[in-house]
Amino acid sequence: MKNPFVMGCGEFHVNYKQDMAIWKISRVRVRVMIMVALLAIFPLIASDYIVGLATLCGIAAIGAIGLNILTGFTGQISIGVGAFLGVGGYTSAILTAKLGLSFWIAMPTAGIITAVVGGLFGLPSLRLKGLYLAIATLAAQVIILFVISRWDTLTGGTAGMVLSRPEIGSFVFNSETSYYYLMFVILVITTIFTLNLFRSRVGRAFIAVRDRDIAAEVMGIDLFKYKVLAFIVSSFFVGVAGALLGHYTMVVSPELYSITVSIEYLAIILVGGLGSVFGSIYGAVFITLLPVFLRTGVELLSGVFPDLSNVLNGMKEVVFGLVIILFLIYEPEGLAKIWKNIKDYFKLWPFSY
């Protein structure tokens, strides 16, 4: 068998089928399979803390892929992801805790309810775009959060609600490792679905809307339908991520879904790469681990600067803001592009292009 980690020396497609394939050459498929297998066995050797972090990264990645469908692929900026995560989390919480339904029904329902809410707040996209739409989604964020924190009888108000871990028969997903696998399966399904979505008619329509909406309309794409559809598909995954997050942390409360979360998700897709499925995953890992590394760094330096830990929260914000700005200035296409550049370097080596 050929070594799967040897790079192909260029892409030579002779028909459309080859051009549209997810894995351009069979070696890439083997390579991806090996990576997936490594990710699948890694919790068996890693510590609970690391597996927990990986779970958080994965859940963020599911939500980020959802947001990327809307913002990266369809070009509709949304500053309301935080609230949509909240809708997902709360739907699942209410269905499991108040109505006693099982997690396996509650999670897809959370996705569907969030999709409906997302579609509803996508309706203004009929008339608005760019900046104005971004502001409309910001209003969605504020209003949804207000409803959640005031509808005491349903949501428990500002105190929030307590959730339980999902179970199959007598097996409860209590350990970090088991929840990691639950997240992993859903992340893989999300990734495969999204990769295939953008090989389909609907996905191409999304991209056409992003690139030039008027030109897309001239070519017969129903703008309104596809914009709202993008909101619906995107919110579905965000809702699923919200439900997963709720059952993982076992608590939902309004302050977990503030505008900071929306900004964090926007930063994820921006740092990862707009319009890149794998980029969303890289971005999610990067942004989720950033505060962790920062804290470790501060702890290491606390011997030299003992006051440093007092300003950790402020420093987190500063670093977060700087990361966004620096990526925007130096690599607007994000980590996905950086990774591609590295691969291209080896693909073309020893020539520069």
């Binding site: 913002t71 930063a267 670093v319």
Partner: protein, 294 residues
């Protein structure tokens, strides 16, 4: 009736501060097509600088105000030069994310330097309330209104008669034409960021005198969005009228509806209005309608 009038007066004062901050916001949008999500942090920094000068260095209020405004202007210049200049002509999302990143970084700096607790300005305006018929008004409110009106008049004259003001209007109208008339568009961008930082600082200092200063003051930065959208994103008179309307509606909601729903509606009301404006009249009361050509 007295309650209504009281609410009206409070609303107008709060609204006039919104108008002032929205003015800076609209100015940036008009000149460089950028939405500034860091407006709230500009406000916060200006306020904290003024407060620190007064409390830690015992500088008289007027001098402290002047230094704080100078500082804000320089801050605006520097930020435009370092952060925003690379994004001229970039897609909307880059611009939005750049200012969001900026706001996060500035908010972090404020937390590091000044911490989280609420601070109060020392007594600057006289304390004894003024009675107008049935309405009781504290002097801070009157002074705020006076200062805001003076600022707005100054800016109206500035845009109408000064060379720089006319250049700014020309740039907002048509960048290429302005360039060909020898106007440095880059200078205009820098000046509009500086002015935006200055007016936010004034707004922040006034609000800080009324309510005390803490990090939540920067929420004004988001509340300016409904104001600017209501008036029309590119209209300066629109920002002023929009500010007054939103201020009054918000205070009225706080007075009449909040007791019914248990509070919190006051903060959300501007955004509910925002959704309706966007649905029915997206370019606001005075905004210029964008016509797209293929």
């Amino acid at each position: 009736m007295a309650f209504f009038l009281q609410m009206l007066v409070t609303g107008i004062v709060v609204g006039s501060v919104y108008a002032l901050v929205a003015l800076g916001f609209v100015l940036i949008y008009k000149s460089s097509d950028a939405i500034n999500f860091a407006q709230g942090e500009f406000l916060l920094i200006g306020t904290y600088v003024c407060l620190t000068l007064i409390t830690a260095y015992n500088i008289p209020f007027i001098a402290a105000l002047f230094i704080a405004l100078m500082f804000s202007a320089i801050l605006g210049f520097v930020i435009e030069r370092i952060v925003l200049r690379p994004f001229i002509g970039e897609p909307v999302i880059s611009m939005i994310m750049a200012t969001i990143g900026l706001s996060s970084a500035l908010a972090g700096l404020v937390h590091i330097i000044w911490g989280h607790e609420t601070r109060v300005f020392p007594q600057i305006f006289p304390e004894a309330p003024v009675r107008l018929g049935e309405v009781v008004i504290s002097p801070v409110y009157i002074w705020s209104l006076v200062i805001v009106v003076i600022m707005l008049v100054i800016f109206t004259f500035f845009f109408k008669f000064s060379k720089l003001g006319i250049a700014m209007r020309a740039t907002a109208d048509d960048q290429q034409a302005a360039m060909s008339m020898g106007i440095s568009v880059k200078t205009i961008f820098a000046v509009s960021w500086a002015i935006a930082a200055v007016v936010s600082a004034v707004g922040g200092i006034l609000l800080g005198n009324i309510n005390g200063v803490n990090a939540s003051l920067s929420a004004i930065g988001l509340k300016v969005l409904p104001v600017a959208i209501l008036g029309g994103l590119d209209s300066i008179p629109g920002a002023i009228i929009g500010g007054l309307i939103i201020g009054v509606i918000e205070t009225m909601t706080g007075g009449y509806l909040d007791p019914l729903v248990g509070g919190g509606l006051k903060e959300v009301m501007p955004f509910i209005i925002l959704v309706f404006i966007l649905m029915f009249k997206p370019y606001g009361l005075f905004g210029k309608k964008e016509i797209e050509r293929v």
